[in-house]
């Protein structure tokens, strides 16, 4: 099938970008990224610079791939990362607009690649359990209710791709932050420092310049792991209660 791609090209973080149109011949078995590979091979053959886009595992788990395809982060299918999207969902003659994530906290580096290091800094602020390598108690010492463990897993399934931020009209990172806060708060091991964690992660999130959640739920709709906004409510709860209950003055 013949496709027209309108792709955002931008030389560097400070340069101005613009859309360029390309024609590409794809086949329905290709994945979306393989279709871009084909385009890049053609560009290289013409001695032009290929389109920069980030990708790695190509099986929907590493969270490296991004792209906003016709207005939707990771494309049209629910619960699917860009790398798992296949061309059979398109038809001959389609026009596909491919843009980078747009958010002040995710500046464009080049073409379709953006800088998502803000997520790392949020994690460093408190997205962990403060346990050093050593000899903790036996793995079975703390029983955890099956459903609770499963709910923690659902939150922990986040791949840190940033689609939530890209999808949110407010560019809010609440789904990402709440997934980590929920994952750890739902487990007894993580309860100990839940208060401090919620405070620290939210503070860092605010400093990074993400927007504020107005419960639009576009994040959940576009999340390749379908992480639920109930986690956001849990974060609100954790944050609120830690603000009120905490004995620490500041």
């Amino acid at each position: 099938m013949k496709l027209t791609l309108k792709i955002w090209r931008q030389k560097g973080p400070k340069e101005k970008g613009r859309f360029e149109s390309y024609q590409v011949e794809a086949n329905p078995h290709m994945s979306f990224l393989e279709m871009l590979d084909v385009l890049n091979e053609e560009l290289i053959a013409k001695k032009e610079e290929p389109v920069t886009f980030e990708h790695d595992c190509r099986e929907g788990i590493c969270g490296t791939c991004s792209l906003v395809i016709n207005g939707q982060p990771h494309g049209p299918n629910r619960g699917t990362a860009t790398c798992q999207l296949h061309m059979r969902h398109y038809k001959d003659g389609d026009i596909i607009v491919i843009e980078p994530y747009r958010a002040s906290a995710f500046p464009v580096l080049k073409d379709l690649a953006v800088d998502r290091s803000a997520f790392d800094r949020i994690m460093q602020a408190g997205g962990y359990i403060s346990v050093s390598t050593g000899a903790p108690q036996d793995g079975n010492a703390i029983p955890i209710e099956k459903d609770q463990a499963s709910e923690a897993f659902d939150a922990a399934a986040c791949i840190g791709c940033g689609a939530c931020v890209a999808a949110c009209p407010n560019a809010s990172a609440m789904l990402f932050v709440s997934a980590k806060v929920s994952h750890l708060a739902l487990l007894p091991q993580g309860q100990v420092e839940a208060s401090r964690r919620a405070q620290a992660m939210v503070r860092q999130m605010d400093e990074e310049g993400f927007g504020m959640c107005s419960n639009i739920t576009a994040c959940e709709a576009e999340c390749p792991k379908e992480i639920s906004v109930t986690n956001i409510a849990r974060l609100n709860r954790e944050y609120l209660s830690s603000s009120i209950k905490s004995q620490i003055k500041v």
């Binding site: 790695d56 788990i61 359990i129 079975n140 099956k146 463990a149 923690a152 897993f153 091991q189």
Partner: protein
Amino acid sequence: MSFDSNIPPGPLAEKWTRYRGTMNLVAPNNKRRIEIIVVGTGLAGASAAASLGELGYNVKCFTFHDSPRRAHSIAAQGGINAAKNYANDGDSVYRLFYDTIKGGDYRSREANVHRLAEVSRNIIDQAVAQGVPFARDYGGLLDNRSFGGVQVSRTFYARGQTGQQLLLGAYQALSRQISLGSVEMYNRHEMLDLVLVDGKARGIIVRNLLTGELERHAAHCVVLATGGYGNVFYLSTNAMNCNVTAAWRATRRGAYMANPCFTQIHPTCIPQSGDYQSKLTLMSESLRNDGRVWVPKKQEDAKAIREGRKTGNDIPEEDRDYYLERRYPAFGNLVPRDVASRAAKVACDEGLGVAPTGLAVFLDFDDAIMRYGKSKAHSMGLHNPSDAKVRELGEKVVEEKYGNLFEMYEKITGENPYQLPMKIYPAVHYTMGGLWVDYNLETNIPGLFSIGECNFSDHGANRLGASALMQGLADGYFVLPYTIGQFLSNEIRTPKFDPNAQEFLDTEKDTRERLEKMMNVKGGQSVESFHRRLGKIMWDYCGMSRNAEGLKKARTMIQELREEFYKDVFVPGSMNDYNPELEKAHRVADFFELGELMVLDALDRNESCGGHFREEYQTEEGEALRDDEDYTYVSAWEYKGWDEEPVLHKEELVFENVELKTRSYK
């Protein structure tokens, strides 16, 4: 350069405990003065960097990814082994040790493997304490499943995303150390060379992937945790950016590359659909518990399926060859990975493949669906249910067990595996070979350590399922943080190294020249096209089965391709910019050299063992024929450059606790 495995004395089960109790320590005040470079942030790298940071060392950690959380450990599905014996089914440290040695076809070190089995238990405790959400049963305790043809249930798992959850655990521990300042993190920095000062590893040259700038980093020692080199085959289940460069550059500086030809080919991957494809996707091994593998008996049927005139469902029962069940009646569809993969290749080589490319076999769940359906109907009290009803009930049971895998298959292939048998084909998955290390995980270059898939140490010629995660974390959390002290305790008086010293400047110059050389070719072919061609040579001649003639031919072909590369490659863009094509070019250039060494290693090993199958060395029934008399050694290769033959150093493997037997699955 030393070439001693440094295995401590004493009885096998006590070696590690005794050694740990007597090894040299570095005092806390001295740790603060010592710098360590860790390259790679997968399970091994992240866990090592975090643990070393916790101990008080100054750690600099590097990854070429945009975040430490992206490393390919994240894609491991199945689980992680640990000799906890929670299931009360007779598991023990010794049994895990024995299974690993046997599974590796007796080509790994007893002492290393036993230590791995010992610390496996600590890993689970550590991961739980970090908040890894392992699967639990209704009593709230950790759940186990059996895996990869072992007879006990010792695999801990977190749905089909165990690797992800364990990596996030290590990443979180690492993030904590970064926030505390004990680890300095360098994202988007790729190691392109190793710096030696007076024969010891003292630093690395990295390229800032965003600016293209080369940077020199110095430390008292260097730890490589840079994963495997499966991408030398171009098509593999590895992530697109997995590469051998860090390990290969160390080899170029004198480190020995051990057993490079030992490659694991995983039998259940989604087949390639076309030439544009650059990556293969793994389907969990657990599918073989219920799926039956078959191909048509007649070539014309296979041809009709390939051309789309027939489907698997059109082939009557008597025209199907369930070849695994036929050849291995005792284990049937559950034979180990290497055996299952080879059998699929044999079937496809006979022209019985069922995908348009000719490279696929069926994995059929029809029997399982009907069997489960009947049993379900029975338990519901339905007598004489219709076939349709049985099928409907059976599909539900299969969906509960494998729903997410079936969905993934359908997402990729667009075929409904409940209605049509799945098509699968083997794919490169893991490399057992890697940098040679001693018991301390130190290479033959003093001060250079290698952990995780990057080293060769624990899996011999074939890795068991759910053991890769175990090894990566064992090395990073519980082995290296101790053994690195053996080296560093002698370095407490060594002042910090100056990255502007001549050795660093020289190595940086070398690196720059290598990059310039590739940029300046300005030929007519893309890096990708060279990589694809190299991969095909490797797959055809050094893949699932190998023979001397093919290997010799492959070596010449690789050399020619390498020469062509340096004459005709085209790398667009500039060196001083974010340039993924240049990154690829450097990686592919290193793959050429590694590929040649793999071929040479395969040629040297005149036996068949584990993932290494030499056609000349097989039994009359076509099974692997090991030669324990002549090949019970680790091949440690010293690589000196294109013009010189690599030198083979042999580390004889001594088996004091295990009797060498032929693996049989008949």
